[in-house]
């Protein structure tokens, strides 16, 4: 007896779908019967290049188009990022365009209910409401909250309208929640934002250290490159240094766990060991490094109107060495739980002159109440041993959104920033005013609110009008309840531009249907300074339009026709060429529009037709002008800065009453709040619901088995959700982990809105909770 299907009936059943009869006889069991077929298709596919819609890796994809529909995706073999490979999200990304509940019409709240209106009526209302609010409450009562998924033109016109024309610095973006500490880390250590290296470091390194960074799930394509390099070269090792055991730990040669927040102490201990063993690259340090300290006990930003300004002081190497005396491996073992021998091992990897070391990090280091400090401290390690700005030697800060770098960091859609420089600097204001064709007095020299404070201002009533584009803060804001209640208060007007209904459109007074991804022309900028252009490949549905065009329409209604003069068939190219003027120097030059259109991404600085792969290195970087091998030209002293930054505890740590750490994050199948990926059938079916990961021993003590409901309680709120034991990841005892993609389980009602006082980025990885069996 056997499976009751002999070869003949097997083939027969498969061949029932006649179109695939040939394939079926070759491969019995293949069937395409479940596919909903496109009507009227001639079966031909045209392939067009685009960057992937999801993470900051910036994979090149080819979108297959048949008629006016996207029907397939493959990796773009011409794109050096991914060389033809994608991840499961990328391969199915085009399905996210076609969710049944796609927003295609504008909606306006009338008598408490959302009703569909023509989009022009919604745009009129937005402009009228903005005018009215500014008249009643002043220009700083209107705000725009954008996104690292904004295209570069989206962010650029938002900044131009709000900072240049209206004259308010109320421009922020969700990248504040994911990349701000990376930015302040770069600025304090090097004076210029964004990585010095590029993804080619992966093929050149011998040692990879992932700092609180589950790359196997969050940057899977880069992770595969790493695995392939390790397999090919044999002399490559991967160390996973994290607070939780993940798929990345499983692939690593060694998994080292540290207690939350103590990465600060371990990084200092590594430096301590490098100096004690005299592994310092003195030639490099003497020529290219200076030593500094800043303020300590800097707070956590928990109170409204919190303000902090760091003050840098010079110090000598001897003083720095003295500072590190507190951080012997033995002392740090007590703080961090990392065995002293493992600390020495890490130091020996960084210190070995024969090994090239690349450090990768993302949210673990950035969503950290000392996010700027830990970024500084990892740069310290690389600087002490001179392992930086050369192929394979790379402290590499990864991004989570497709254009967190391109739009938020490079265009500067943050309250204190302009496309070039900061609002506080007169030169920068003059440059912006000239390019934008506005009086320089328009641009306010004082920054207003960073993201958390902006939502606090909305709650307090200092902000009355907020336009939210391409992001879902009613899932992602920490201490969510306060900010949702704030948005729902009387006399607040919320405009949301999005592609699907979300908890954020639920609080909107106006919903604008937006074009998504390749339904519009635009550019993204990825983690390795690569600008990636995509043309409009398919038409947007209904009355959906690009976020850029929505802003242009409103700007014109506000009387700024002169600043927004472009036609619909040319505006992206024109905007790009205008924006490019801000960066015209060998330190940041961007590729011309025509070049971007042709290539699968171009790295900046793009100088004399050449991309710069390793910055600050004379061999690769045309901006190096000191005649030396390296030139850290971002800082006035032409040196990279090593910072003495101490270990300070988290804003809230487990205690008797709330005895667990709560850590939050993501899974490979879902991207951020899941508003797109949950509408892709394969991704939703793979991970249909969120869960709370509990260490098996903690679960046993609690009396909970896999799938049973657990109540997670913090001082802010509580949530009941299913337990996951030995699931995707395993937290150590005393920690639980929750993916935040699921709007049914809003874990951010439990999290804390503490942030790094320098970067103002909240810490989603650490707060105290207790558990109950529900």
């Amino acid at each position: 007896m056997t499976v009751k299907l002999d070869r003949r009936s097997f083939i027969k059943s498969a061949a029932a779908t006649s179109a695939v009869a040939t394939a079926a006889s070759l491969f019995p069991g293949i069937s395409f019967a479940d596919w909903k077929k496109q009507t009227g298709s001639n079966g031909m596919i045209t392939w067009k290049k685009a960057p992937c819609r999801f993470c900051g890796t910036g994979c090149g994809v080819l979108v297959g188009v048949s008629g006016d529909r996207a029907v397939a995706v493959k990796g773009d073999p011409k794109c050096s990022v991914n060389k033809g490979l994608c991840c499961v999200k990328g391969y199915h990304s085009v399905q996210a365009l076609y969710g049944k509940d796609r927003l295609t019409r504008a909606q306006v709240r009338k008598n408490g209910k959302m009703v569909e209106v023509p989009v022009s009526e919604a745009l009129d209302l937005i402009a009228a409401k903005m005018k009215e609010t500014i008249k009643k409450h002043g220009k700083d009562s209107v705000a725009i909250y954008g996104s690292g998924q904004w295209t570069i033109p989206d962010g650029y016109v938002a900044s131009k309208l709000f900072k240049g024309c209206i004259g308010t610095n109320n421009v922020e973006a969700n990248a504040r929640l994911c990349m701000a500490s990376a930015v302040t880390g770069f600025l304090t250590s090097f004076g210029l934002d964004e990585p010095m290296g590029c993804y080619e470091d992966i093929e050149n390194a011998n040692v990879f250290v992932t700092w609180g960074n589950n790359m196997a799930e969050m940057h899977p394509v880069l992770f595969s490159r790493m695995l392939a390099a390790r397999k090919r070269k044999k002399d490559v090792i991967l160390i996973d240094f994290a607070t939780r055991t993940t798929r990345t730990s499983q692939a690593a040669d060694k998994s080292i766990l540290f207690r939350p927040q103590t990465d600060l102490a371990v990084a200092n201990a590594i430096c301590h060991e490098i100096i004690r063993n005299n592994w310092v690259n003195w030639d490099f340090v003497n020529k290219h490094v200076s030593f500094h300290k800043g303020k300590t006990n800097i707070g956590y930003g928990l109170e409204d109107h919190f303000a902090f300004k760091d003050k840098a002081e010079n110090m000598t190497f001897e003083e720095y060495k003295e500072f590190l005396r507190e951080y012997t491996p033995e002392k740090v073992e007590k703080i961090s739980g990392v065995p002293a021998k493992d600390i020495r091992y890490l130091a020996s990897l960084y210190g070995d002159p024969k090994k090239k070391v690349t450090s990768f990090w993302c949210m673990g280091m950035n969503q950290h109440t000392r996010g700027t400090w830990i970024n500084n401290l990892v740069y310290n390690i690389h600087l002490l041993v001179g392992k930086i700005s050369t192929p394979g030697n790379s402290p590499f800060s990864l991004t989570g959104q497709p254009s967190a770098c391109g739009t938020v960091r490079e265009v500067g859609t943050l309250t204190h920033k302009l496309p070039h420089g900061v609002v506080m600097k007169e030169e920068a204001r003059k440059m912006a005013a000239e390019i934008w064709d506005v009086p320089v007095s328009n641009i306010d020299p004082k920054p207003t609110y960073h993201t958390v404070e902006m939502f606090r201002a909305l709650d307090r009533g200092d902000i009355r009008f907020m336009w939210i584009q391409v992001t879902n803060p009613m899932v992602t804001m920490p201490k969510l309840k306060r900010y949702r209640n704030g948005a729902l208060k009387e006399d607040r007007f919320i405009v949301v531009s999005d592609v699907y209904p979300t908890p954020t459109t639920d609080v909107a007074d106006v919903i604008l249907p937006a074009a998504m991804w390749v339904e519009q022309e635009g550019m993204f900028g990825n983690s390795e300074r690569r600008t990636q252009h995509f043309e409009q490949i398919v038409p947007p549905p209904g009355e959906a339009m690009s976020d850029t065009w929505q802003i242009i329409e409103v700007a014109r209604r506000l009387g700024f026709e002169k600043q927004f003069p472009w036609g619909k068939d040319e505006y992206i190219g024109k905007i790009w060429e205008e924006y490019r003027r801000f960066h015209a120097s060998p330190k940041h030059n961007m590729a011309p529009y025509e070049v971007l259109k042709k290539r699968s991404g171009v790295q900046w600085p793009f100088v004399n037709g050449r991309e710069t792969r390793w910055r600050y290195n004379a061999k690769y970087d045309p901006a190096v002008s000191n005649g030396e091998e390296f030139h850290f030209y971002g800082k006035k002293d032409n040196r990279a800065w090593i910072w003495a930054r101490p270990y300070e505890p988290a804003a809230e740590s487990p205690d008797q009453e709330y005895n667990f750490w709560l850590n939050t994050g993501r899974v490979i199948e879902h991207w951020h709040t899941g508003s797109m990926t949950r509408r892709v059938p394969i991704l939703h079916n793979a991970v249909p619901s969120s869960y709370v990961e509990i260490n098996p021993e903690d679960a046993a003590e609690l009396g909970v088995v896999n799938g049973e409901m657990v109540k997670i309680i913090s001082r802010r709120g509580e949530i009941v959700m299913p337990a996951s034991i030995n699931g995707r990841g395993v937290p150590p005892r005393g920690m639980v982990f929750v993916p935040f993609f699921d709007e049914k389980y809003l874990i951010n009602e439990v999290t804390l809105d503490a942030f790094c006082p320098i970067s103002k980025q909240p810490d989603y990885k650490k707060c105290a909770v207790r558990l109950e069996k529900a």
């Binding site: 499976v3 299907l5 730990s249 199948e669 793979a686």
Partner: protein
């Protein structure tokens, strides 16, 4: 056929498989203390197998095993296959005996075939689930019916990576069954050089109803 359908090739295969790789069951990663190894559907196995298997062993295309011969050994999709070759009646089914061929695969001259690789070498009592057939005669007839095997190669859109149609329980090690000469022809992948299978392939179990996403009602 009768001649080769024996266990005589066992020794030869043992040697063949030794040529392929080092210690099979030894863990590759040094895990953090106190953390179990078997989480994420024992995903560690994929990475270990990937590192331990030389590329040529992942790219073989013998093609003798097919889905038809595969299901002929099974009672229903997912049932443990019976042992198709003869084994001595004295054979105890100890791990070493089976694993010498089925641990890493390799060519068996006596059978003129490549041995399939087990995805779960850590289960050592092979005879617990896999048994030989000593007679073709049944005790009494049985009206057993199986469901259809899962349809394979069913991508969500043209050219996209097909989902994993089966449960991962006992089938955690993708590389064991889906690469190399011992793999069933229809399910062998051409890109064994990629190491993180679930970067592109995620489970969508064929026997589970497809769920549609709807927003939670307020």
């Amino acid at each position: 056929m009768k001649k080769t359908d024996t266990l005589m090739g066992r020794l030869g295969l043992g040697i063949a498989s030794l040529c392929l790789a080092g210690a099979m069951t030894a863990g590759f990663a040094v895990a953090a203390p106190g953390i179990p190894h078997d989480f994420d559907s024992k995903g560690e196995k994929i990475f270990n197998r990937y590192n331990e298997t030389p590329l040529p062993a992942m790219t073989g295309t013998d093609g003798k095993r097919t889905l038809n011969t595969f299901y002929e050994l099974r009672q229903y999709p997912g049932s443990p296959p019976r042992i198709p070759h003869k084994i001595p009646t004295s054979f105890s089914g100890e791990i070493f005996e089976c694993i010498s061929c089925h641990g890493r695969g390799g060519y068996v001259a006596e059978l003129d075939a490549y041995a399939p690789v087990t995805p779960h070498p850590e289960n050592e009592a092979c005879f617990q689930c896999h048994v030989p057939r000593l007679t073709e005669k049944l005790f009494v007839e049985n009206d057993w019916q199986s469901i259809e095997p899962p349809v394979i190669g069913r991508p969500q859109l043209g050219g996209s990576p097909p989902p994993i149609p089966h449960s991962l329980q006992l089938r955690e090690d993708c590389i064991a069954c889906h690469t190399g000469n011992g793999a069933v022809a229809e399910i062998r992948v051409e890109h064994g050089s990629r190491g993180n299978c679930r970067q592109c392939h995620v489970p969508m179990v064929a026997t589970k109803p497809v769920k549609e996403f709807t927003r939670p009602s307020k």
